[in-house]
């Protein structure tokens, strides 16, 4: 069943070329196949999650309830959050890790290829279960992606149990994926590829994987306690038996805050790969980038209760979490400044990956600014659970995580499929998205500040204008992403796209660009020499 690649075995290509048909994908142990599976899965989930967002936005187009019942609205909000976070962003990043890490560190494949396949195939299973809850009696989970007790325990719909086990499965998948990344990075680097020579994408993913291993089990613990509270008579989240509903929030956010950095660190790595390439100038402050990423990850474990300023924590707790949260601006600032310094005195061109990377830096920073505002507890009493928060996290998530992914796809697509995408179409995609994303999410700052609370299907008249703008933007944004699919389809399967060179980008540096385009099925069958 298995074989070893021999130095002198010239048949290994046919031996290890992709199998044919469905089993190629179902049984694959190849990091590129698995990477593609992850990426397409993520894109599908992104469209589904986006569709839920469009239901939300359609209902919020004008005041009054026009389309959906409030209980269904809550299901849409919940599923939108869950699908985007666990179904779109995380798998997209794992897909990129699969494709890129072996190529970047000079390895033939991931360290544990069979487990790699298992991590992937758990995902469709988990999301099949989660989405099937839409068709169950009592509907899908309706308590927000944060599923606070007791709304999710005593008051959750029957499908909550399917949700709980679905989360367990996603957790197993993420943990295995993370173990694979860490082991690959620790053990599969080509000779000479020391830690401080690794591309930043590898570094950020290494740290992301560490975060995943630390926090996904805690999420599993949280849903397990939920399950026993629901059905086995425990009272972890019920004061009558000596528990505390707020304890749920502590456990959740101990996972949840590092989780938001899980959703941004790989994008940092992507920007750190793309900006030097198109500035034709080495990344400024490589070492400080590594330390900054590590500091962000370290701090992420001690800031979680900034989501809970209004829960009535003791004053000392509020002060501690406020100060720690503010500190995160320092290493993040270092990263932003380093990117600007990389561009400074460079010789820049603005192909699609660079455009998305620049937009990422700017819009993420804007999201970071609102994050710092939220961190100020007395002001957060006003912001909390309003659309200001929604604006904040969409600025760090859409132009952050999603633009990062899109930039990565444009940047590495020629390496993956051997063909160049159409620069003209990609530029249209970019400008369309950048306008739509701001039209959708910028007005939310205003409606939030003016007092519109989150997770409501209807709102007071005073917010009507902002909501209408957001809704129009949202539909535009959605169309823009369908257009992205069209560009991808045309490049990969359209047949007419021009062939890409190995180097692809004039300024690109790194091991992946030494491989031909498309990259061979097994990236490096022999360890490359790293200077």
């Amino acid at each position: 069943m298995s074989a070893v690649i021999h130095e002198h075995d010239h048949h290994h290509d046919d031996h290890h070329g992709p199998a044919k048909g469905l089993t190629r994908w179902l049984y694959t142990t190849n990091h590129k196949d698995i990477g593609s599976l992850y990426l397409w899965f993520a894109f599908t989930m992104f469209l589904i999650g986006g569709l839920f967002a469009l239901v939300i936005r359609a209902e919020l187009f004008i005041p009054g309830l026009q389309l959906v019942k409030p209980e269904f609205f809550n299901q849409m909000t919940t599923l939108h959050g869950l699908v985007m976070v666990f179904g779109a962003v995380m798998p997209a990043f794992t897909g990129l890790a699969n494709w890129l890490i072996p190529m970047m560190i000079g390895a033939p494949d991931m360290a544990l290829p069979r487990m790699n396949n298992w991590s992937f195939w758990i995902l469709p299973v988990a999301f099949g279960m989660l989405l099937s809850s839409l068709f169950m009696d009592g509907g899908a989970p309706n308590f927000g992606w944060t599923f606070y007790a007791p709304l999710s325990t005593k008051f959750g719909p029957p499908s909550t149990d399917y949700f709980i086990f679905g989360v367990h499965l996603m957790g197993i998948s993420s943990i295995m994926g993370a173990i694979n990344v860490i082991v690959t990075v620790m053990n599969m680097r080509a000779p000479g590829m020391t830690y401080m020579k690794m591309p930043l994408f590898v570094w950020t993913w290494l740290i992301t994987a560490f975060l995943l291993i630390m926090v996904m089990p805690v999420l599993a613990g949280a849903v397990t306690m939920m399950l026993t509270d629901r059905h086995f008579g425990t009272s972890f989240f019920d004061a009558a038996g000596g528990g505390d509903p707020v304890m749920f929030q502590h456990v959740f956010w101990f996972f949840g805050h590092p989780e938001v950095y899980i959703m941004i660190l790989p994008s940092f790595g992507i920007a750190s790969a793309i900006i030097p390439t198109f500035a034709r100038k080495p990344l400024f402050g490589y070492a400080s980038m590594v330390y900054a990423t590590a500091s962000i990850a370290g701090l992420s474990f001690i800031v979680w209760a900034h989501h809970m300023f209004t829960t009535g924590m003791p004053l000392a707790g509020e002060l501690f979490f406020m100060i720690c949260t503010m500190l995160i601006a320092v290493p993040t600032g270092v990263k932003v400044f380093n990117w600007v310094a990389t561009m400074w005195q460079g010789s820049m061109t603005f192909e699609a990956p660079m455009l998305f990377a620049i937009a990422f830096v700017i819009l993420f920073t804007i999201g970071g600014f609102s994050g710092i505002m939220l961190a100020l507890a007395p002001a957060d009493f006003q912001y909390h659970d309003t659309y200001f928060v929604v604006a904040h996290f969409h600025y760090v998530l859409f132009p952050g995580a999603i633009f990062g992914t899109i930039a990565a796809v444009y940047y590495w697509l020629p390496k993956w499929c051997g063909r160049m995408y159409s620069e003209k179409l990609a530029k249209i995609h970019f400008w369309w998205s950048i306008i739509a994303v701001n039209l959708t999410f910028f007005p939310m700052h205003f409606s939030g500040l003016a007092g519109m609370q989150r997770r409501v299907p209807d709102y007071a008249i005073q917010f009507a204008d902002f909501n209408m703008l957001s809704s129009i933007g949202a539909f535009g944004l959605g169309i823009g992403q369908l257009f992205f699919f069209y560009i991808l389809w045309k490049t990969i399967w359209g047949g007419k796209a021009p062939k890409a060179t190995a180097q692809v980008w004039e300024g690109a540096e790194g091991l992946e660009w030494t491989l031909p385009s498309p990259a061979p099925y097994h990236s490096f069958t022999e360890p490359p020499v790293v200077k």
Binding site: M1, S2, V4, I5, H16, T23, R24, Y27, T29, A107, P108, A111, L112, P113, R114, N117, W118, I122, P124, V125, A126, M129, D137, P158, D161, Y162, F165, L169, I175, A178, I179, N180, I182, V183, T184, N187, M188, I213, M214, M216, P217, V218, A220, G221, M225, H231, F232, T234, S235, F236, A240, G241, G242, G243, D244, H250, V251, F254, H522, P527
Partner: protein, 297 residues
Amino acid sequence: MAEQHNPNHYYVPAQSKWPAVGALGLLLIAFGAATTIQQSTGHVQSGVPIPGWLILMAGIGTIIFMMIGWFGNQIDESITGKHNAQLNHSYRYGMLWFILSEVMFFAAFFGALFYARNLVMPWLSGDDVSTHDWLWPAFENSWPVLTTPDGKTSTTQMLPWGLPFINTVILVTSSITLTIAHHALQAGKRSTLNLWLFITVALGATFLFLQAHEYHEAYAEMNLTLHSGIYGNTFFMLTGFHGMHVTIGTIMLIVMLGRCLKGHFTNENHFAFEAAAWYWHFVDVVWLFLFCFVYWF
């Protein structure tokens, strides 16, 4: 096939059906478990015409099938020397990081225990004046919480110096005996290995037996149950998940014993044995924490 140890060779496994089987197994388990629970509440989910436990069992069966197939595959590859040193390293790192994730799973429950004990109890009993005076005026702080704040359940404390202490001794001893077995394996003393490994398995089984006895006593005589408020909750969740891990560890050791008897493993190459041993030590360390914070202090 000694040349596999040449670092210039990378090992890449061919396609395998086991991961896909495993995903199917997990689906059946998760769906079956949720359906079983739902059906037990009287809400019968439409569209699931068969009892959930059947699905659950099918899932467990599938996973066992997968494990036999996948591990069998691994063992074959290992014995025929297809694994190289690098792959062995990957397995080791993988196992260690997996154990870290297990540590964090227990950390969630220990976190709940400390939070409830050091923050919630004082709040309910008067540190938080309004909460106490208005909502739980009769509640007094103590750990363990023998009467819940609503006064509806009362229970008794599980004292550390009886059975739990004996169990501590058993587990610590088993870690030592396992280490002896490991040294014997490295030294190539096969019969010593088999003996000490057998003793370790026996100790593990004894631990489980005593634990079951303790549970029985708690339920039958002490009214200490999963339902008896936060003390019972944390007690049973922590010891229960620990017990589950001991069970898995014991099964792993039994498999290792079987393989040792069959003459698998070499003095240098015995990753599976080491992984099982690490797991066992991890379970042991968790127990020491349990003994301290669940039973003792």
